[in-house]
């Protein structure tokens, strides 16, 4: 039998009004990849952030190899054998690769108060060689490397000292297939050395494929721990949501003809350094997907259509000949946009749900033609569309910052549904959103499509593109690299072959 590495005992944590974790207890063994799953806000990241010293602990105990631990910060956590690789960038700009790898652990290169940079670089280079990342040089500034390489450097940083537990927190969502393979390789190595990986991901097939044991959390409460080989995706969904996920998840129709009517044309659009010479048409009532790697330029397509790109060349033209060159014109002409960077670009966090929903519609919520706002209508308007999107809230005065990711996205969508937008540009509409809300969003898109609205869906999740789109355009290095039509035979491999 495998030995217990970490005992989680009665861990609780609150953030203001939210109880992130309640009395959670379970065991994690040596030599396993232990997945933590749950919907957004279920407490996975809160748990690992406390374990790695990012958040202070509240009540309860972590017992590592029989000893109770109290991680104070990340460096302290490293010293007791716990490290983490995070979802977003975990390396610091302005430092060299070596300085990043040994951040907080410089003492072994210090003699008489001076840092021996040469020795540090040599050691870092040796590690990079050992990991097989030979194209990275220890003495280079970290800024010379792209997102993908910086993640590889983080892998070295988090694992070179053979920690007892490595937390991989939703790292894979930000990585390409190659990067993921590299990460999996090192996860397996850690396990084979007898150490433990705590693996957090939203991708259930990845979880089933890569982990040995799975612990499920729901609303901060421990639900169950299962062996990966004993369960399938449906079982996991049921455990996460707490009930059977019924009805259609994606669209179920095939073979519907795309309308000939073009509602929007993108002609020779170039954004220097990001996309070059992109042209395509959007038809009425179609869902047009854009797929590719995160850096392929596909996210800029959304901004370009919405008039939000800097230095855009080329034309974005509506059916009636209107040119879209700025955000105000885009909104006035019934174009809606949800950004991948939801918290910064889609929504004003420290403002009420009501103010967020009515923002683009204020011109229509005045007394007649006067500039004076009709607050009664504004309140009704916000209430109506928040309700239509079934936003989970106390009332529309509640600040958006108190909502979960899924509910924030619902507020964004409520704003555009309220504006009655005809062209919706949805960039990563389900990013970091749990299954239940995802399903709601897919159903909404399908309904809008049937009402004759046109949707552009930009996504890094190939499965949802395959499930939802009439057409999918693939992108690579800022250029269009292929196009496929909706069909039941379409699979991820086909799309990947066009985008890498």
């Amino acid at each position: 039998m495998s030995e217990v590495r970490l005992q989680v005992r009665n861990i609780s944590k609150t953030f203001g009004v939210t109880k992130a974790l309640q009395n959670v207890s379970f065991d994690i063994n040596k030599g396993e990849v232990h997945a933590l799953i749950g919907e957004n806000g279920s407490g996975k990241s809160t748990m690992t952030n406390m374990l790695t010293g990012i958040y202070p602990m509240e009540t309860g105990k972590f017992i590592l190899d029989g000893e109770e631990i109290h991680p104070e910060n990340q460096v302290h956590a490293n010293n007791i054998g716990v490290s983490i690789i995070v979802q977003e960038l975990g390396t610091l700009s302005g430092l060299t690769v070596a300085e990043n790898i040994f951040l907080g652990h410089e003492e072994k290169f210090i003699t008489y108060g001076f840092r021996n940079t040469q020795k540090m670089n040599a050691e870092a280079n040796r590690l990079l060689q050992e990991y097989g990342f030979t194209h990275i040089k220890a003495s280079d500034m970290i800024d010379n490397y792209n997102f993908e390489d910086r993640k590889l450097i983080e892998i070295v940083k988090a694992t070179y000292f053979h920690p007892k537990i490595v937390v991989v927190d939703e790292t894979t969502t930000a990585l390409s297939q190659e990067g993921r393979e590299e990460l999996y390789k090192h996860m397996n190595r850690i396990r084979d050395e007898g150490n433990t990986v705590i693996f957090i991901s939203h991708d259930l097939s990845e979880i089933l494929d890569k982990s040995d044991t799975i612990t499920i959390l729901r609303d901060g409460i421990y639900i169950d721990t299962v062996k990966s080989k004993d369960v399938n995706e449906e079982d996991l969904k049921k455990l996460m949501v707490g009930r059977e996920v019924t009805g259609d998840y994606y669209r179920s129709d095939y073979g519907e003809k795309i309308s000939d009517e073009v509602v929007l044309s993108v002609k020779n659009v170039t954004v220097p350094g990001i996309i070059s010479d992109v042209s395509f048409d959007l038809h009425q009532g179609e869902i047009l997907g854009f797929g590719g790697l995160s850096e392929s330029g596909m996210h800029e397509i959304g901004k370009a259509i919405f008039g939000a790109s800097y230095d855009r060349e080329g034309e974005v033209v509506l059916a009636d000949g209107t040119h879209i060159n700025d955000i105000t014109t885009a909104i006035r002409n019934s174009i809606a946009y949800t950004s991948k960077d939801r918290d910064n670009e889609s929504i004003v966090l420290n403002q009420s749900i009501r103010d967020n929903i009515v923002m683009p519609s204020l011109n229509f919520l005045t007394f007649g033609k006067t500039p004076f706002l009709n607050w009664h209508r504004i309140k009704e308007f916000a209430k109506e569309y928040a309700k239509e999107m079934s936003v989970k809230m106390v009332n529309t005065d509640q600040f958006v910052s108190e909502l979960s990711g899924g509910n924030k996205q619902k507020v964004v969508l409520a704003r555009w549904i309220g504006k009655n937008s005809n062209i919706l540009v949805l960039d990563s509409p389900t990013r970091g959103i749990d299954i239940k809300v995802k399903q709601d969003i897919y159903q909404l898109m399908n309904r809008l499509r049937k009402e004759g609205k046109s949707i552009i869906m930009i996504s890094e999740e190939l499965m949802e593109l395959i499930g939802m789109c009439d057409r999918i355009i693939l992108m690579k290095d800022g250029k269009l690299s292929g196009e496929v039509l909706r069909s039941p035979e379409l699979n991820e491999q086909k799309l990947i072959s066009l985008m890498v």
Binding site: S12, K13, T14, G16, V17, T18, K19, Q22, E58, T59, F306, A308, I327, T328, I331, Y337, S339, N344, E345, S346, I347, V348, L349, N350, Q351, S352, D355, N356, V358, M359, P360, L362, N363, P371, F372, L373, W375, V394, F399, S401, R415
Partner: protein, 319 residues
């Protein structure tokens, strides 16, 4: 364990209570300070109230402009210099026509506001840096213009110094500001920019234009305050408007304005804050405190209120 498992309702109730305290503390403070000083000065405060109120007009009008700026997350330290320079222009022009002098004062303020706005919006420099620069620059100009003697206006200008005019015009300005802030898009846009500029832009607000125009507007408003300040004595010295920016900042914070601006800004902050500030400072004067001592006390109160009203949820840096 017990303290961890507080229910969501309790926590929300607690937060609502905090919001209520934040909303009413300035009002309670105003009443308290008023009663306290009336008592301490044996009622002299109430008797000399009309005199004390003569300070309110300038501060209340000027702080309304800064209130707009702070709501959208900016700051303005150049208010004192705007007031000083505008007052000089008012005095010059008043020799020809006094109504024209009002317009000229506002135009001067608007121009300085436009300079602030240009460097803030187009050159993308943080607002407090820009306005500290313009504060120095225009204070220098004021000193140069008043090198030999204070700039005197037309002798007729003091004729305008009537309570009816001052109360009337202050009321008009405040009511216009109140309507614009609470009953037009203007206020909603300012709050949105203060709470999340990028998201406001993606929500269809022309953020750069609004930001620029707010600085121009605030300059013009202070330019009008300069007229009210000029009619009191009919001339401007090199110290005209000195430290107005700090007084405004203290007044707004005393009124409950979060220093980082955003959605928690309320229009009542302007009115309650400037009244509280004026009662506090005239009360302290009447009690015979020296200027140095007063500054010390005001500083402590300022710090206290900043700490209470800081909106720690919006961690963003002041723009």
């Amino acid at each position: 364990m017990t303290d961890v498992t507080i229910s969501k309702e309790q926590a929300l109730a607690k937060e609502r209570k905090m919001r209520l305290i934040r909303a009413w503390l300035p009002v309670a403070g105003l009443i308290f300070v008023f009663i306290l000083f009336s008592f301490l000065t044996n009622g002299r405060l109430i008797k000399s109230l009309p005199l004390a109120m003569s300070q309110v007009y300038v501060i209340m009008i000027a702080s309304m402009g800064v209130f707009f700026i702070m709501t959208m997350g900016g700051l303005d330290f150049s208010q004192g210099s705007i007031l000083g320079l505008s007052a000089i222009v008012v005095c010059y022009v008043s020799k020809y026509n006094i109504e024209l002098a009002i317009v000229a004062g506002m135009a001067t303020g608007a121009c300085i506001g436009a300079i602030n706005g240009y460097f803030y919006v187009n050159r993308k420099i943080k607002s407090f840096i820009v306005t500290i620069c313009t504060m120095f620059l225009f204070r220098g100009l004021i000193k140069y213009l008043t090198t030999n003697a204070p700039v005197a206006g037309s002798p007729m200008i003091v004729m305008w110094d009537t309570t009816a005019f001052k109360v009337g015009s202050t009321l008009v300005v405040i009511i216009l500001g109140f309507l614009a802030f609470n009953y037009t898009k203007f206020g909603t846009y300012l709050r949105a920019i203060g709470a999340g500029e990028k998201a406001a832009m993606f929500g269809g607000i022309k953020t750069d234009r609004v930001k620029f125009l707010v600085y121009v507007l605030s300059g013009a408003i202070t330019g009008f305050a300069a007229f009210i300040s000029a009619i009191k004595v009919g001339s401007v010295t090199s110290n005209g408007g000195n430290q107005l920016e700090t007084q405004i900042l203290i007044a707004l914070v005393l009124g409950g304005m979060p220093i980082s601006g955003g959605a928690l800004a309320r229009f009542s902050n302007v009115i309650v804050g400037s009244l509280l500030f004026v009662v506090l400072s005239s009360g302290l004067t009447m009690m015979g405190f020296s200027t140095q001592m007063m500054q010390l006390i005001e500083g402590v109160v300022f710090l206290l209120f900043v700490a209470i009203f800081a909106d720690r949820k919006s961690i963003h840096v002041i723009k």
